[in-house]
């Protein structure tokens, strides 16, 4: 099963490698990983996506909690959460395909952020499904390069 985990950490050298080392040391794979500072000075948030059964996930979460620089681990299994990923997609855009590319960009509420005689670079944000979908459609026209950020995730705020 695929799981998204949020980890609030102290922003210090070596912290990311401690977190990543927990996974590599146990032979677990990290599918995606994002890190950046939060609104609170000195703290960063890591969002990572990993695969594993309940037992493995349980261990991962406990082990993360055990790291000295980890402040809090968010296990998104039993909470509602929002997750987004951004992708930059460089696509072939010749005379006869440009209109089609722009149509797709429009449908997905994406943005063209760079234009050259033969290529468009597109920025798109969304969940996994949306990014897969646009990649598939653009793929039929000719995707040259893709850079994806990996997921960022936050628990949904309580409604009341």
């Amino acid at each position: 099963m695929r799981h998204t985990i949020g980890v609030l950490v102290e922003n210090q050298p070596g912290v990311l490698s401690r977190v990543a080392g927990l996974f590599s040391g146990r032979g677990f794979n990290i599918e995606s990983l994002t890190v950046a500072e939060t609104n609170e000075p000195g703290l960063s948030r890591i969002t990572l996506v990993t695969m594993g059964d309940q037992h493995i996930l349980e261990q991962i979460i406990k082990q993360l909690n055990k790291l000295i620089n980890v402040i809090k681990v968010y296990d998104f299994r039993d909470t509602e959460f929002v997750e987004r990923e951004m992708a930059l997609i460089k696509v072939r855009a010749e005379q006869h395909t440009r209109a089609e590319v722009l149509r797709i960009v429009d449908i997905f509420r994406a943005k063209v952020v760079d234009v050259s005689p033969h290529f468009y670079t597109i920025e798109v944000t969304g969940d996994d499904g949306k990014i897969q979908a646009i990649l598939e459609l653009l793929g039929q026209i000719g995707v040259v390069e893709v850079a994806r950020t990996g997921k960022a995730a936050l628990a949904r705020a309580k409604k009341h």
């Binding site: 950490v9 102290e10 050298p13 070596g14 490698s17 401690r18 080392g21 040391g25 349980e58 261990q59 406990k62 082990q63 909690n65 055990k66 790291l67 000295i68 620089n69 980890v70 402040i71 809090k72």
Partner: protein, 572 residues
């Protein structure tokens, strides 16, 4: 007043109450060695940095205090890694200071530079690179705090040369503030109550205690609860000494404690393994269900509800799923259970327990731990038994790794915590001698004996000279079987007796070697020489190395082959 990093280093050690450092100098750490003359701290100069780490570890295990070692950058630092990993696996509190090249050179492949923080990340509880002298006192404070609290472990502090040379105002922080570190030591009340309900109604309980009992000094509480519930007790290798294996009877003779099952697991006793396989409640206390203990996981304690106390939540339900998890300090948890037991004692507990204890007694009599000492040739078990007979109760025993370690676990009946120092988790050959030296440095008047194999002893034998120089009268009892015995045993059983690379027919003359080091060398080749030689060694105030020529092809039994249920023991 401003102090240099090197001065701050010693001020901090003073605040932490450090009495002894085990170390080896080098360029990167020279300022600290230069400053040492101004401080009344004892420094033990080792001959190899692995020795320093194991000595700090032995000191820590024997005393319960934090062991400290100090080494230089690069090769000095990497030489400690085996010692650090050994301490990490067995949860030993230790602080390792390593020198580092000056900060402007870090990352440039400078002379004797190595990323020791990176190398030791997976085998330390935490580690630090100090980049500014202003952080030094706080980091050292945190390092000691982390090493000894929660689940203890080794912490490494890497000290760049320019940091220890520069100066700042010295202020030792009163408290430690680590937002992400709050070990749970107080057990959850509800879980304690649930555990008590289960223990109260158990028909065939077994207590299974590990190193956690010793680390948290919970041995008295354990004995009390076990005697109140009349529950039999087994321990892991790390837990030996956490329960008195023998007690004195009315005639003053030492006999097995009636509730003592012996160690369990791969080389556990028949009765311990059978009891675990047939118990209805297994009470695990500071033990982590190591694969050497459980054998095949799916077949371990199949009939039992399991209660598990551990201060480290990652240990709980890692290997074996437990019914009642209790995160917290073993001593506190056992104290609370004892309180409950005091409030509502189980009526006629003796009667209730009789069938179960009777069954265990039968198991013990059917397959006791046994060997036969013949006329010719010394049996290694006989040597260990003699050591047990002749050594004072508070003697500290260290071991190397292999058959020597298992025979010690089986035939030396430990009665006090912190009297067996052995590399349980990592299984480090070469641990025993330096660990013995560390323990002897802490307790100069106690008898400290390393039970060694002829293979293992050669991994850190150079530390004999450290013992001699510092007048640390450790005794080394080499069970010399001319083999890497434990590996040979596996080859015998599972690799059709192909003794490839396990025969040590060429070894140094250990008696002459002891002599060359300035220690006393003794030898026994016949059974009747064992006792006199041990008596002579124990009454000598100098380091002694004894070469016991033992039966080369003796095996450790019982043995559970890897991957089998622990009741599937090979008995001879």
């Amino acid at each position: 007043m401003k102090l240099t990093g090197a001065q701050i280093f010693f001020e901090c050690l003073k605040k932490e109450g450090v009495e002894i450092i085990f170390g080896f100098p080098g360029g990167a750490i020279l300022d600290i060695y230069h400053e040492m003359r101004n401080h009344p701290i004892r420094h033990i100069l080792v001959r190899h940095e692995q020795g320093a780490a194991h000595m700090a570890d032995g000191y820590a295990r024997a005393t319960g205090k934090v062991g400290v070692c100090l080494v230089t950058s690069g090769p000095g630092a990497t030489n400690t890694v085996t010692g650090i990993a050994t301490a990490y696996m067995d949860s030993v509190p230790m602080v390792v200071f390593t020198g580092q090249v000056p900060t402007p050179l870090i990352g440039n492949d400078a002379f004797q530079e190595v990323d020791i923080v990176g190398i030791t990340r997976p085998c330390t509880k935490h580690n630090y690179l100090v980049k500014d002298v202003k952080d030094l006192a706080r980091v050292i404070r945190e390092a000691f705090y982390l090493a000894r609290t929660g689940r203890p472990g080794p912490v490494l502090v890497d000290l760049p040369k320019d940091v220890i040379q520069s100066s700042t105002e010295f202020r030792y922080p009163k408290a430690v503030h680590l937002r992400g570190y709050r070990p749970t030591v107080d057990p959850h009340q509800g879980q304690i109550l649930r555990a008590w309900e289960l223990l109260k109604t158990a028909k065939r309980p077994v207590f299974y205690a590990g190193g956690g009992v010793i680390i948290s000094s919970a041995h008295k509480e354990l004995l009390r609860l076990a005697e109140r519930l009349r529950a039999p007790v087994t321990t892991t290798l790390m837990g030996l000494g956490g329960f008195p294996a023998v007690i004195k009877n009315d005639k003053g003779q030492r006999v097995l404690h009636p509730l003592w099952l012996g160690m369990l697991g791969m080389h556990g006793t028949f009765r311990a393994n059978m009891a675990v396989q047939n118990c209805d409640v297994l009470f695990a206390i500071g033990a982590r269900f190591d694969d050497r203990v459980t054998g095949k996981i799916s077949g371990f304690a199949p009939k039992a509800k399991i209660i598990h106390i551990d201060v480290d939540p990652t240990s709980i339900s890692k290997n074996v799923v437990v019914d009642i998890p209790i995160v917290g300090d073993c001593k506190k948890a056992l104290q609370q259970l004892n309180e409950l037991a005091g409030k509502e004692p189980i009526a006629n507990v003796d009667e209730i327990r009789t069938p179960w204890l009777e069954q265990i007694r039968q198991w013990r009599e059917t397959y006791p731990l046994a060997y036969k000492q013949e006329k010719e040739g010394i049996k290694p078990q006989f040597v260990v038994e003699k050591i047990f007979e002749l050594a004072a109760e508070d003697a500290i025993i260290t071991t190397e790794v292999g058959q020597n370690q298992m025979w010690t676990a089986q035939y030396f009946h430990f009665t006090k915590p912190r009297t067996l120092l052995t590399s349980g988790g990592l299984g480090t050959m070469g641990y025993g001698l330096p660990a013995a030296i560390g323990a002897q440095a802490a307790f100069p008047d106690r008898l400290v004996i390393d039970v060694a194999g002829d293979g293992s002893i050669q991994m850190n034998i150079q530390e004999m000279i450290t013992a001699v120089c510092h007048e640390l009268p450790v005794k080394v009892a080499i069970l010399n079987n001319r083999f890497l015995g434990m590996v040979r045993q596996w080859q015998e059983l599972f690799y059709s007796k192909n003794y490839c690379a396990t025969c040590l027919d060429a070894s140094p003359d250990f008696v002459k070697l002891a002599d060359a080091y300035g220690a006393v060398g003794l030898r026994a080749t016949k059974p009747e020489e064992v006792e006199p030689v041990l008596r002579e060694a124990f009454s000598t105030k100098r380091p002694v190395m004894i070469d016991f020529w033992v039966n080369p092809e003796e095996g450790v039994y019982p043995m559970v082959p890897a991957g089998k249920n622990i009741s599937e023991m090979l008995l001879v």
